[in-house]
Symmetry: C2
Subunit: 213 residues, 2 copies
């Protein structure tokens, strides 16, 4: 394949939207989650995030990146007010509705109603889950870091509730998110179903890994 | 689908490896990259990471999570010594070799040789790229954060070189990583090819998004 090398200055010189599409593609595939929040009056907010990532299993921690300039500030304000939020896996049937949550609706408008998704309330957490999602997580904010270089926020949350379909859990704890219908994202706007290559055994120095299934 | 709710205490009570597999599955699909480093004597190190994520386009920033207790410390020491590292997309043909880099080889052994991948050196950066990878990034360490809650490190790097196949770049800057053969990861050990659903237009409050292709 013919290949081009883009240096730092080439990237800095790109037109703004071109650069956003280009750089957003380079990290690889991303998770697709709907981030649900509420203010203390149960005014709900929902936005798609491609930045949720694993941070640790014990305790069960997840990171999510919030850019105050692109995501509605409601989300960040709600999380700081209530200390909680939900993450809900985006499935193929929900892709258009999920994507539409990134539109800049006015403050006071709930994305749930606008895009046609259903808030699901549970006792333990003052933030709405997405009823249509097969896998849902409720999180408590544990830590916050601000990147000095661009002002982006990293929120570290602990999972206090995980809703998982019984049929997707393997004997060893692995959750088959492909079977649950979860999609992957690439760039800013490209949605992908997945097709499993396989699971590989734990790697050891003296032998090559084997396919588990 | 029958669904179970796992609360915080249920997760904390899980057997260690079961919990690791379970929690690692919950964030959604992950990127699959080979992280290449070198010490000042050009002793190379290579390890698969599922934690690289987009942090900003201007400047072009990427985050990667390093857990000192599970990833060989060589990687972190090399990055701190040289200030640079590479990220190289894992493609389907490289999955077994890429996974094998997670084996705990002794200090002084290069994973490149052990798993059969080829280091590619460039002038601007004292870290090896993976020649077999279709998409390769060279990064300079800009910032480091340590999570108070579990000691995990977030490295923030700026992309100073991006190698991208010409055939994968769209007119608007989007890089088609599916066409490049990049795979996605889920859990600790599950590899997935992707099948594009489509790209959606920029979301606006007064209309629903349209499929771009």
């Amino acid at each position: 394949m013919a290949l081009s090398v883009y240096e730092r200055d080439d990237i800095l010189a790109m037109e703004k939207r071109y650069r956003a599409a280009f750089v957003n593609s380079l990290s690889g595939f991303k998770s697709a989650n709907l981030l649900g929040t509420s203010d203390s009056n149960r005014q709900t907010n929902l936005c798609i995030v491609s930045s949720a990532f694993h941070l640790g299993a014990n305790p069960a921690l997840m990171g999510v990146i919030i850019r105050p300039d692109t995501v509605p500030r409601d989300t960040l304000e709600n999380i700081r007010e209530t200390g909680v939020y939900t993450l809900n896996h985006v499935q193929k049937e929900m892709v258009v509705a999920a994507h539409q949550t990134s539109a800049r609706y006015p403050h006071g408008v709930s994305e749930f109603e606008q895009v046609g998704l259903t808030p699901l309330w549970r006792e333990r957490i003052n933030a709405p889950y997405v009823q249509e999602a097969a896998i849902r997580l409720g999180l408590i904010l544990r830590e916050e870091h601000t990147m000095a270089i661009n002002g982006t926020h990293l929120l570290v949350g602990e999972i206090i509730e995980a809703h998982v379909p019984d049929s997707c859990i393997s004997h060893d704890g692995f959750v088959d998110i492909e079977q649950a219908g979860t999609v992957a994202l690439s760039g800013l706007d490209s949605y992908h179903c997945t097709d499993r290559v396989g699971r590989l055994s734990y790697a050891k120095p003296d032998s090559m890994p084997e396919w588990l299934d």
